[in-house]
């Protein structure tokens, strides 16, 4: 295709991941024109599916939290309703919270949804935990209410109001998960079981902010998790359709190569690899600041402040997933749970350390989709996916000629651990297999080092200060906002949708201010 200048758009969104799709809908709903650029030939980023033989695999979604039922919607269902995509998707409810196993034989616990059920089950496993668990959920409720208030004022919270209404939120707000649970005098065993979700955020509980963890757990436990029937690809396709209904354009196979700026450093457009230029003054980047400030943005506009602020941050986990299509049903194989967390140890600090090396990492978050949706694969079969993360760039040591074998070694270990810990023999039943390594994630989504969780939400860079500095961070480069796993809300499906919602609406605000 010869080089040419396309028509101008009010906003160009780079990347059709969960954040980019949501942001594009928000911009269009605000009455502005929008072009969504995506380098791959599908929308969704990680929110996709792929086929092997008679199986269609979910690429990444384990469960969508804070979704809730149609009658009692959670924040994400409400968001989907506002976006106009809720009804385009068939939803199924996830049956149970999680099944925690530690390979040191300390824990084998199945936890339910619902605060009372959860507390009762915990009391069964850890007698004497009831009081601290009740306090924990009270505190979590206050965290959620404070966040709802904060969102309602776009992060510009009134300090006196906060102190009067959410004193516990503020007092607990600067501490880690482990510090808060210790202050609640929660028995160690209850803490271990409660902390099982930590791998969803990818930071050990000594360094993970309590506010972040508490707000996630309460959303899982009180407003059950759901997922789309046709895999997460259904959400992505529904959003694609919604964008077109609203008059937006989406170009697949169209990788943004440069964000162009004028002499004053203001954005003038986006250039594609083939030279096509799309004039615009607003960009929402559904990709990493490392990529934007390191490669995409014209160098003359890159300031020392941008470089320092980007270098200061720490990459979170690099993803690895195994997908199996099995030629026996979950029942025949004895796989009873939908969602397993299998750790070497319930000590998240030790576990995090073991996850730095490919060799010493045996963690898995494993889903058998048929236990949530029996019809997801043909009668007499079932589908599983196993996910882990590497907390360093150790995978980068894998060479080209060892690549396929390296993938098999990790996958082999995942199968071995699952069989050993659950007693379910699955190996002989493997009919289809696919493995995604950090290299695969780097290939499809372009994330540096195959990171799937954006920047670590640990210590100084935890969720709360990020949210409080949302406006300040955006001033780093006017005209540019971020959405998706690398943005203020950090990674995970729900967070990515929320960040797209925020950045989309804020960009609409920017455009309205400009027009005045």
């Amino acid at each position: 295709m010869e080089q040419h200048t396309a028509k101008a758009y009010d906003v160009v969104v780079i990347g059709a991941g969960n954040g980019g799709l949501t942001a594009a809908i928000r911009v269009l709903q605000g009455g502005y024109s929008c072009l969504l650029l995506e380098k791959h030939n599908l929308p969704g980023g990680f929110a996709t599916s792929f086929k092997r033989g008679r199986f269609e695999f979910e690429a990444s979604l384990h469960e969508l939290n804070d979704f809730g039922s149609p009658e009692e919607p959670g924040d994400i269902r409400t968001l989907f309703r506002d976006l106009g995509v809720e009804d385009k998707i068939d939803w199924i409810r996830i049956p149970e919270a999680y099944h925690l196993i530690t390979t040191d034989k300390t824990y084998d616990c199945e936890m339910p949804f619902g605060v009372d059920a959860f507390i009762n089950k915990m009391e069964q496993y850890v007698p004497g935990s009831r009081k601290s668990m009740t306090d924990f959920f009270d505190l979590c409720n206050e965290v959620r209410d404070a966040q709802t208030y904060s969102n309602s004022v776009n992060g510009n919270t009134d300090s006196a109001y906060m102190k009067a209404h959410f004193p516990n939120f503020i007092k607990a707000g600067s501490y880690s998960v482990n510090e808060v649970l210790e202050s609640l005098r929660m028995p160690q065993a209850a803490r271990d079981i409660l902390n099982a979700y930590w791998c969803y955020l990818g930071v050990d509980c000594d360094r993970m902010s309590f506010l972040h963890y508490g707000s996630m757990v309460i959303r899982y436990i009180t407003r059950d998790a759901w997922m789309p029937r046709l895999r997460s690809h259904e959400i992505s396709m529904a959003m694609d359709q919604r964008i077109r209904e609203l008059g937006g354009d989406i170009w697949y196979h169209s990788e943004a190569e440069k964000i162009l700026v004028d002499g004053n450093g203001a954005i003038t457009g986006v250039r594609l690899a083939d030279g096509t230029v799309i004039p615009t003054r607003h960009v929402i980047a559904n990709c990493s600041p490392h990529l934007v400030f390191g490669k995409l943005l014209e160098e003359k506009a890159v300031t020392e402040q941008m470089v320092r602020a980007t270098n200061a941050r720490t990459f979170a986990g690099r993803g690895f997933s195994l997908f199996l299509g099995l030629n026996k049903s979950a029942e025949e194989l004895g796989i009873k749970s939908h969602n397993y967390f299998i750790y070497d140890t319930a000590d998240s600090v030790k576990q995090y350390d073991l996850m730095r090396k490919v060799e010493t990492n045996h963690v898995q978050a494993t889903v058998c989709l048929n236990n949530a949706y029996p019809g997801c694969s043909p009668e007499g079969t079932c589908m599983m996916y196993f996910t882990t993360m590497f907390m360093s760039d150790d995978w980068g040591n894998v060479g080209e000629t060892d690549y396929f074998k390296a993938k098999d070694r990790v996958a082999d270990d995942m199968i071995t651990v699952f069989e050993r810990e659950t007693g379910c023999q699955i190996r002989e039943a493997i009919e289809e297999i696919a493995v995604a390594s950090p290299t695969t994630y780097a290939r499809y989504c372009g994330h540096p080092q195959g990171v799937i969780y954006g920047y670590e939400t640990a210590e100084w860079d935890s969720l709360m200060p990020r949210m409080m500095m949302m406006a300040e961070d955006a001033r780093l480069f006017p005209g540019l906002r971020f959405a998706g796993g690398w943005a203020m809300r950090s990674s995970g499906y729900s967070s990515a949708y929320v960040s797209g919602d925020l950045s989309g609406r804020q960009t609409v605000g920017d455009l309205k201010r400009e027009a005045k």
């Binding site: 086929k51 516990n168 895999r231 320092r308 493997i430 290299t439």
Partner: protein
């Protein structure tokens, strides 16, 4: 409840107040050294998956009466990527006004790829292969996709022993698989059944005999000729039983449809599980229709609109290419999804047994143009080719 960690509650509050100043300070204190331009994992992804490559034809060798060997080198990189033996590439060229692309299994090994050599064995059967066999010359340039496809050994799924059955040009992926085994990159034990009509239709015989010295078991099967050193007839269950334990191997089949039908019928009485037999995908060509109608196909590619004629018996992809419009494609068998395009209006049919779309694609009206035939005027939205 009343949360407190420090002796006095206000000290907890003070800590909260410092969250923002702490983060502000940490961001300002990051290193001023330039951000990385590349990352190891992304570099490996780029080496393994370079996307479309510019290649040059360096050698042409007739193999048999109907088959030609083509050797390529890559122009836009030091070497071809390492791949999994059994995979294919799609070759794209221009024949007159038309663009043409076809998938071909790779005959050379993954190690040879690293020496910037990639070999295809092309059967003189169609429009493009005929052109390649007759008119292509050393020095000609083509576009080639990166190696792709799931027709390869899977260590964690397949049996240690594999039985490969080749018919005609279907020998090519197995030559690569045998070489890769000999080179130590695959750890299966391979028995190859290579069926042809006559001895002079056997391609790569010298190579295969040499590989037989290095562990490959090869059984040549001639249907129209009786010769010492060759089995006579078809690759029947009785013949297979002579060489392998049918229940203790994974089968890999590559050849014409008639061969698949025959072998699958032979294997049916054994009641093997689905996983025991892997078949390579076959190219989706024109429909055998008498007097096919001609329709108008409107294709949006980004902000451009093209209108071309599309015949009832040709796929939408072929119609676009025939008019010189490049559209993304790899497998041309409905399965890989690389041509994923949005249907806007018009009736169509999908080649039988080749609807490889995701469930949500069907729900939201997306199609794979490589296996979709028009039944009226149509309008679609196609992503640009690379």
């Amino acid at each position: 409840m009343k949360f407190k960690r420090q002796l006095f509650g206000f000290m907890d509050m003070l800590r909260f107040k410092k969250l923002v100043p702490n983060r502000r300070e940490a961001l300002a204190g990051g290193s001023p050294s330039p951000l990385p331009k590349s990352y190891r994992v992304n570099d490996l992804a780029k080496r393994l998956h370079p996307g479309e490559m510019a290649v040059e034809l360096t050698g042409i060798r007739p193999l048999t009466a109907g088959m030609t060997e083509l050797t390529f080198r890559r122009l836009d990189g030091d070497a071809f990527p390492f791949f999994r033996a059994g995979q294919y590439v799609s070759l794209r060229g221009q024949v007159g006004e038309s663009l043409v692309s076809r998938p071909y299994s790779i005959a050379s090994s993954p190690r040879e790829a690293l020496e910037n050599k990639l070999v295809l064995g092309v059967e003189d059967a169609g429009f493009f292969s005929g052109y390649l066999g007759r008119e292509a010359r050393a020095g000609d340039r083509f576009a080639m996709t990166e190696p792709s496809g799931e027709f390869h050994y899977e260590t964690l799924r397949d049996k240690k022993r594999i039985a490969c059955i080749a018919g005609g040009a279907g020998i090519t992926p197995f030559l690569s698989m045998a070489k890769s085994m000999a080179e130590g990159d695959e750890d299966y034990e391979m028995t190859l059944f290579y069926g042809a009509r006559t001895e002079d239709r056997i391609a790569f015989k010298a190579e295969l005999d040499a590989l037989a010295e290095k562990g490959l078991r090869v059984v040549y099967v001639l249907s129209d000729e009786e010769k010492t050193g060759y089995e006579h007839g078809f690759v029947s269950a009785r013949l297979l039983e002579k060489y392998v334990d049918i229940r203790d191997v994974t089968f890999f089949l590559c050849g014409p449809k008639a061969m698949y039908d025959f072998v699958l019928k032979e294997l049916a009485p054994y009641g093997l599980p689905v996983k025991a037999v892997r078949k390579d995908a076959t190219f989706c060509g024109d429909l055998p229709l008498e007097n096919p109608r001609t329709f108008r196909l409107t294709a949006h590619i980004r902000d451009r609109v093209y209108t071309v004629e599309a015949r009832e018996n040709e796929t939408l992809l072929t119609a676009l290419e025939r008019s010189g419009i490049p559209a993304p494609n790899k497998c041309r068998a409905g399965g890989c999804g690389y041509c994923h395009s949005r249907w806007i209006r018009g009736e169509y049919r999908i080649a039988e047994g080749r609807d490889g779309r995701r469930e949500a694609d069907r729900k939201f009206g997306w199609i794979h143009p490589c296996v979709t035939y028009p039944l009226g005027d149509m309008e679609i939205d196609v992503p640009p080719a690379e």
